[in-house]
């Protein structure tokens, strides 16, 4: 009796979502997730914009900010690795609200910091929320998206992150001169708290999660009535085409033949995010060395964000149309070629902007495509964990420029000495 998706006694939720149209309710869920991701992107870049002004006020060297920058990254890594398994146990909605509240509270407190250790502590704790939200909203989007749109919707939602970085950057350039650096963190903290209220009131728990855990059939019935069929039979029984995996979710990333896929997926994450961060961090210095003005440098760097938004929002749709290999492979190869091109084009604003944009575009394909794959390859019981555990590798990639810089400096030092 599972053939008819609804009206019958047994309602197959997997088929109801996969075979049905994309409803306004499902779009609403994805918009809620994108909203959190947008502020994730805006908040992540805010400390970089505020750094020179904080350094002036605190009387510290800007070079010492590496610990403050790294603190948010450490928090995000811990957040993704811990919130992922917790979301598989206690629910995506609950953990997403907790993460959003953490972002709000500790971003507001950042504005009240009076010393570097306080700043580091608040950025670690805000980072915990920033990283912790990621596996929750990716899992929720993936679980409400019909199979034929799943990769496309996950990457479109994911593109809200660079979009948040871009819009946050523009807003910050207005806020800092008019209201001071603290205004960034007041606004950046209050808005996530308001979003948390919206999530609590309107965001449903993942219906597949509820069924995989077999926790609350009434809640499932209410959600089904909201998003598809008001006429669900009162004695309807709900099922999903997936089994609950008992025990520690992290362990299941390596069982039932999933270990090679899990390990193979981590490397592109490390490399993709590493190159994107190197290009974002080093391009301004590279351009200044070639005599390009600060205003033109900011213009060139903006192209990286623009390329990333286009690449990340289209990656999933292209993967679903053409497959994994025809999109991810050229994405990483052309991203590498554009990185080399950037090294030779740094004396021209137009050429540098083109190559920086291409790096963002192609590596946007690669990284967002890899995120979509992480959301797709794992079953519901361990999806948040699977997505959360790729994050330490992305964060390590983002930290690698600091290690690489230290390595280059040490080598340069040895050459000078000899």
């Amino acid at each position: 009796m599972t053939d008819a998706p609804h009206q019958s006694r047994e309602v197959n939720i997997t088929r109801l979502i996969d075979d049905g149209p994309l409803t306004r309710f499902q779009i609403g869920v994805i918009v809620c997730c994108a909203l959190v991701n947008l502020f994730d992107g805006a908040d992540t870049q805010s400390i970089g914009v505020a750094a020179p002004f904080i350094a002036d006020e605190f009387g510290i060297e800007i070079a010492n900010f590496k610990w403050i920058f790294s603190s948010a990254l450490v928090g995000a890594t811990l957040g993704a690795a811990t919130f992922g398994p917790l979301a598989d146990r206690f629910g995506r909605k609950t953990l997403l609200i907790v993460a959003t509240i953490l972002i709000g509270i500790f971003t507001i407190l950042t504005a009240f910091a009076t010393s570097v250790p306080m700043l580091i502590a608040f950025r670690v704790l805000a980072g915990l929320g920033l990283g912790g939200a990621t596996p929750c909203f990716i899992a929720l989007t993936s679980e409400y998206a019909p199979a034929r749109f799943r990769a496309a919707l996950v990457t479109v939602m994911w593109a809200a992150f660079p979009l948040g970085g871009l819009t946050g950057g523009l807003l910050n350039s207005y806020l800092i001169p008019t209201m001071g650096w603290r205004a960034i963190f007041y606004i950046g903290g209050v808005v996530p708290l308001l979003i948390a209220v919206v999530l609590a009131l309107f965001l449903p728990e993942s219906i597949k999660f509820l069924l995989a855990r077999a926790t609350d059939t009434d809640a499932v019935r209410r959600i089904v009535a909201r998003f598809r069929s008001p006429g669900v039979s009162p004695d309807a029984r709900f099922v999903v085409d997936e089994e609950h995996l008992p025990g520690t979710p992290v362990r299941h990333l390596f069982t039932e033949g999933r270990m090679p896929g899990t390990l193979l997926l981590w490397v592109p994450f490390f490399m993709g995010f590493g190159i994107l961060t190197v290009v974002t961090l080093w391009t301004p210095a590279l351009l200044r060395l070639n005599g390009i003005s600060a205003a033109n440098t900011a213009f060139v760097v903006a192209f990286n964000g623009l390329g990333a938004v286009v690449g990340q929002s289209s990656a999933g749709r292209l993967i679903q149309r053409f497959g994994i290999l025809p999109i991810l492979l050229p994405g990483f190869l052309l991203g590498a070629a554009a990185t080399v091109g950037l090294g030779y084009a740094a004396s021209s604003v137009a050429l540098a902007a083109t190559f920086v944009g291409l790096v963002g575009l192609f590596l946007g394909f690669g990284t967002a495509g890899a995120i979509a794959l992480a959301a797709i390859i794992y079953p519901t019981s361990i999806r948040s964990t699977g997505v959360g555990w790729v994050w330490p590798w992305a964060a390590s990639g983002r930290s690698s420029p600091h290690g690489l810089r230290a390595l280059c400096s040490a080598r340069a030092g040895r050459l000078t000495a000899s």
């Binding site: 896929g261 190159i275 290009v279 190869l333 797709i376 390859i377």
Partner: protein, 42 residues
């Protein structure tokens, strides 16, 4: 920048290996006719 770009080449190699695993895993699931990992069938 050439050193950095090598990261892209390494990522590409791992994408090829991932794709090989993915195809094998999908084929195995179809052969087993199990529905427990329907999410793989994209």
């Amino acid at each position: 920048m050439i050193v950095i770009a090598c990261g892209g080449l390494i990522a590409a190699v791992f994408v090829v290996l991932f794709r090989a695993w993915f195809v094998r895993q999908k084929a195995g699931l179809l052969a087993d006719d199990t529905s427990t990992k329907a999410s793989l069938l994209v």
